[in-house]
């Protein structure tokens, strides 16, 4: 039994703690609110974290795939470049391999039977192999034969550059630089 009278409301009771101040009363409410908010945000963040990790891994996988495909293409490009390099070198060489036999035949056919070709010299330029230096020495001929020779060579798609002719008695010397002309 308490030693205080139950109906005595005025005497301060010493066996009870004091009431909390007003500001402290919101602490439990605040605690629940924070607990709920934290649970909500942590749940959302954890989901976002997992999603972001999945997105990151997927992006890395895609990037690796693209890099692998690009490496294949780069390798193909290197192969094509090397092939082109070889092809260009061969093409450059082949450009200077145009046959000379048709020129000799054309010249021989251009002159009449009574004219002698004492010398026919075709010399390919070492620096510009597409150019051929031509020298024809004709005996018992006229300048008309020179024109025929030039025209027959032109028909073979060779253009005659800086032609020169020297006549000494029956001997005619015809020099010219032949350059192949594309159609």
């Amino acid at each position: 039994m308490s030693q205080y009278l139950c109906h005595d409301f005025k005497t301060p009771r010493t066996d009870m703690s004091r009431r909390l101040p007003g500001s402290m009363r919101v602490v439990p409410i605040f605690f629940y609110a924070v607990a709920l908010a934290t649970a909500f945000f942590v749940f959302n963040d954890m989901r976002a974290l997992q999603q972001a990790e999945q997105d990151r891994l997927a992006a890395i996988a895609r990037k690796d795939e693209y890099i692998a495909a690009k490496t294949t293409l780069d390798s193909e490009k290197t192969t094509i470049d090397a092939e082109l390099f070889r092809a260009e070198a061969v093409a450059k060489w082949v450009e200077g391999t145009r046959v000379l036999q048709p020129i000799t035949v054309a010249i021989a056919r251009a002159v009449p039977l009574e004219t002698n070709i004492t010398e026919l010299n075709l010399e390919r330029s070492a620096d510009l192999p597409a150019q051929v230096s031509m020298l024809v020495r004709l005996n018992n001929s006229t300048l008309a034969e020179v024109a025929k020779i030039e025209s027959s060579v032109n028909r073979l798609h060779y253009r005659s550059f800086s032609p020169s002719q020297a006549k000494q008695g029956d001997l005619i010397e015809f020099r010219s630089m032949l350059v192949w002309q594309e159609h």
């Binding site: 703690s17 909390l20 402290m24 602490v27 439990p28 605040f30 605690f31 924070v34 908010a37 934290t38 945000f41 942590v42 963040d45 976002a48 974290l49 972001a52 990790e53 997105d55 990151r56 992006a59 890395i60 895609r62 990037k63 693209y66 890099i67 495909a69 690009k70 293409l73 780069d74 193909e76 490009k77 094509i80 470049d81 090397a82 082109l84 390099f85 070889r86 092809a87 260009e88 070198a89 061969v90 093409a91 450059k92 060489w93 082949v94 391999t97 000379l100 036999q101 048709p102 000799t104 070709i117 004492t118 010398e119 026919l120 010299n121 075709l122 010399e123 390919r124 070492a126 192999p129």
Partner: protein
Amino acid sequence: MNGKKLACVVLMIFIGIATYAGQIVHQKAAAKRTEAETAESDANAAKSELEIAETRTTKLRYDSDELRRFLTAWTPHIDRVQTQSEVEESILASLRNASMLILSQKFEVRDNRSTPVIPKIVRASLVLEDDYAKTLNWVGELERRLPLARMMNCRITGGENGRQVHAEITLEIPLINLLAEMPVVASATTKKPSA
């Protein structure tokens, strides 16, 4: 401090811990999202590079098609003459087939430094004397048989009698290496000589 106040303080500590933990998780999520965005942007950049490489390679494939077909067409001729002895054999066989009279023959190999694709060139110097038509036919046959041969000099003069001609012919035949690699381009950062 009474028990109620102590309980309040404990609750406030819990509130602080929960808030801190929430923030940590949020920061981690944000950092992970940033990482994912970075990875995504890297993937997009790689995709763009791939598309550029695809376009470039397709264009190169298209542009180089004719030249590559040219090389493919010439490859059998190139493979046929790969050594000096094969060149000699080919020329001498054509001379034998045409029964040409050979006054002199000389074969020499020269190094070619202009391109690694043609490291060596065989130079054949021939002096022949035979019938006019036969000689010209042989020249044509030789140029047909060795389409890579470059006739550097062809000097035809009169022979011993009216029907014969004296021919001095110089040919260059390349020994092509189709496995040659492209030379590495010299670095642009070469040191300039000091003044």
